[in-house]
């Protein structure tokens, strides 16, 4: 058995060609005489073939050298291991550093954002100039602002800034086209109603005039289409109103109480004055900026003195160079209607509510005159509701206008020669906006649905004929006239009666008002800014 094994061992070495000559001779002899070894040899050769062909050569590795030299360049295994960790380590170090840094400087991100904001704000804050300067505020304008909360924004009075409170009590301002061009001399009427003497008129002139500069600095614009409005304008308006009312109360108490019920008259004068002077001294530096792409509140200081100086120079130069330029200069306030209430707006929606129309920008601002940060609180005085007083006074002053000496001829019923239309110039308190609007009978009849449109013109001819022959007596006997002509007749009679009464009244007041003429001249003095 052992020998058999030895033979097999030799056989294995034999097929590998690794036997010495003696061993080779020995085993070859053996193979010849042994079938078992012959079979064994065949098996072994077969096995060797199978083994050697079982494993293919490994496929080429084209990047083997590249990889190797990269590895060699990193020198040692240790270094290589370390390098493997460099990205991870550096990232973790950076992360930890950032975390620590932010932990101790939590405001960093806020500061970065704030800085960006400031940059943008700076862009829009450039070159801001008072808008109201261009509007050439008169005392009348300021007076109207105090009472009506509307400030003209340009000299042609096409646009106004309106302050107000919505139903929720949130402050808003809108920039819009003036709905009606108010030309009433409310201030004059007010002064007239108070029956002030010359000195007192001068006083109230100067009181109101003193606000002109303050107001001018509150609405600023520039060429980037941005508008800056000082929130303090809400309080300034109240201050002007309070100032006017307290002056009126002081100097013309009896006339004042005629207009204002005593119950809602102003509280103690001293506190009003204190309040007013406080409002004048407060310099709220946080303007509300409306720009084409954002609305924000930012600190801004307007150097009115420097501006005034500059404007003086400019106007002097202009006056010297060509005077007509200044005359024609007109400020156009452009509103970018692309401002929309998009999603980005959510951030400031808490603070602002903006609605934009083609000819109107309306911005609601919450908590403007109540809790502005850094805004010194006004003394706690229980003030009456200025606005309601303003309404009452407005009504009264409007009624006064019916006795205005400026229009001594009204009411007047004229008959125009050929057209036979009645032009009635009515100026009553309730019709202030249509002061000079002609009322003709034509439209009256139409309003009453007395005459069908189709036959209107023909009927008018008839009517004109009749009235020509009959004088003022209107009479219709034509088939074209509808059944309601009797009612028309009645109305016409009533109207005529009213007109008669008006004429009498006017004649009476004409004499009364003559004494107011002196005052009027003083008032009409134009106010320079």
């Amino acid at each position: 058995m052992k020998k058999n094994n030895y033979d097999k061992l030799l056989l294995s070495a034999y097929i590998d060609g690794e036997l010495s000559q003696a061993e080779k001779k020995y085993i070859e002899e053996k193979i010849k005489s042994s079938l078992e070894l012959q079979k064994e040899l065949a098996d072994l050769k077969k096995l060797k073939d199978i083994t050697s062909s079982s494993i293919d050569r490994i496929s080429d590795s084209p990047f083997f050298e590249t990889r190797l030299f990269a590895n060699l360049n990193s020198n040692s295994n240790e270094k290589r291991n370390f390098r493997k960790w460099i990205p991870a380590v550096s990232f973790s170090v950076i992360t930890i550093a950032l975390m620590l840094f932010l932990k101790f400087n939590p405001n960093l991100i806020d500061e970065v954002i704030e800085e960006q904001k400031t940059n943008i704000a700076g862009f829009y804050k450039e070159n801001l100039q008072p808008l109201l300067y261009a509007a050439n505020l008169t005392n009348e304008d300021i007076f109207n602002f105090a009472f009506n909360q509307e400030l003209p924004l340009d000299s042609t009075n096409q646009q106004v800034l309106k302050l107000g409170y919505n139903e929720k009590g949130i402050e808003y301002f809108e920039i819009k086209k003036a709905m009606s061009v108010s030309e009433e001399d409310n201030f004059e009427k007010f002064v007239a109603a108070l029956d002030l003497n010359d000195k007192e008129v001068e006083m109230i002139d100067s009181i109101i005039g003193s606000y002109s500069e303050q107001l001018s600095g509150m609405v600023l614009v520039n060429d980037k289409n941005s508008v800056a409005i000082s929130p303090n304008i809400w309080n300034t308006r109240k201050a002007i109103l309070a100032d006017i009312l307290s002056f009126a109360k002081k100097h013309a108490a009896s006339d004042y109480y005629k207009m204002v019920p005593e119950a809602i008259a102003i509280a103690d004068d001293k506190s009003v004055l204190a309040w007013v002077s406080e409002s004048k001294s407060v310099k709220d530096d946080k303007y509300i900026f409306c720009t084409p792409d954002s609305i924000f509140r930012e600190a801004f200081e307007f150097d009115y003195v420097a501006f005034n100086k500059e404007m003086e120079n400019v106007s002097r130069e202009l006056a010297e160079a060509n005077k007509h330029l200044k005359k024609n200069a007109e400020f156009r306030f452009k509103i970018d209607t692309d401002i929309t209430n998009d999603d980005n707006a959510k951030q400031w929606q808490k603070q602002f509510e903006v609605s934009v129309d083609t000819n109107l920008v309306k911005v609601f601002v919450q908590g403007i005159d109540k809790d502005i940060p850094d805004f010194p609180e006004f003394p706690e005085i229980d003030f009456p509701d200025f606005d309601s007083i303003a309404i009452i006074i407005r009504e009264h002053t409007n009624n006064i206008s019916t006795v205005s000496p400026r229009v001594p001829n009204v009411p007047d019923v004229k008959r125009r020669d050929n057209k036979k239309k009645f032009d009635v110039d009515v100026k009553t308190g309730n019709q202030k906006k249509r002061r000079n609007a002609g009322i003709n009978l034509d439209s009256l009849m139409r309003q009453n649905n007395l005459i069908a449109d189709s036959i209107h013109s023909e009927q008018m001819k008839m009517y004109e004929k009749k009235s020509k022959s009959d004088g003022t007596d209107l009479y219709y006997d034509n088939g074209l006239i509808l059944e309601h002509n009797k009612e028309l007749k009645k109305e016409m009679d009533e109207l005529r009666k009213e007109l008669k009464k008006f004429r009498e009244d006017m004649n009476k007041t004409q004499t009364d008002s003559s004494k107011n003429r002196n005052i009027k001249k003083v008032i009409l003095k134009p106010i320079e800014i």
Binding site: S52, S54, S61, F64
Partner: protein, 201 residues
């Protein structure tokens, strides 16, 4: 057939091998003198053989290149200490085989801890169907041999090493190589016994 081819290859290579020996030595001398650029030439000459030895020794191509990289890095680091006492090939193959042994040792250590899972992953020869590639069966059979037996067998039958070369590479006696190859063949025969007929066809 393959056997004969191998024999022919060996004969063909004998002439250039002598030349290459000189070349290896002269390259190494230049390397020792400071010209490290010649190392790439050495790599170029020997990488295929080294990679193949690893491949057949491990019967696994996945980690062959990684180990080959390690081999050449070791060569690079130690080349300046080369004493010209043996052929460069013997030296580099010895390094290669040692790296393979290291690898297998680590793998065996891992296998101890992962024995349950790995047993399932081990090649199984229980069932053989017609589609099974005979080469693959033999490869798997070889891979089941103990490292000690498998290494000389594949170096002999696949790489065509002589017993002398194997002994030098594996740092053992020629007699040991002879007997290990014999035992490897005996073991392989046993493993392949169930499919003897298919193999003989």
């Amino acid at each position: 057939m393959d056997y004969k081819l191998n024999e022919n290859n060996e004969e063909d290579m004998q002439q250039p091998q002598i030349l290459s020996l000189d070349d290896d030595f002269s390259l190494i001398k230049r390397f020792i003198d400071g010209d490290e650029s010649v190392f790439s030439e050495l790599v170029k000459r020997h990488k295929d053989k080294v990679r193949n030895i690893i491949y057949i020794t491990l019967t696994n191509s996945n980690s062959a290149d990684d180990i080959a990289q390690e081999v050449f890095i070791t060569v690079y680091k130690n080349l300046k200490k080369f004493r010209f006492e043996s052929q460069f090939t013997t030296w580099i193959y010895r390094i290669t085989i040692n790296k393979c042994k290291d690898h297998l040792r680590k793998k065996n250590v891992r296998r101890i801890f992962l024995s349950l899972k790995d047993e399932e992953a081990e090649p199984v020869f229980e069932s053989i169907n017609e589609d099974t590639d005979i080469k693959e069966i033999v490869r798997n059979a070889i891979s089941t041999l103990p490292d000690k037996l498998r290494m000389p067998l594949v170096l002999k039958d696949i790489e065509g090493f002589s017993y002398q070369e194997i002994a030098e590479t594996m740092e053992c006696e020629i007699g040991t190589v002879k007997s290990r190859i014999f035992r490897a063949r005996e073991a392989l025969k046993k493993v392949l016994k169930p499919i003897e007929k298919e193999l003989m066809l």
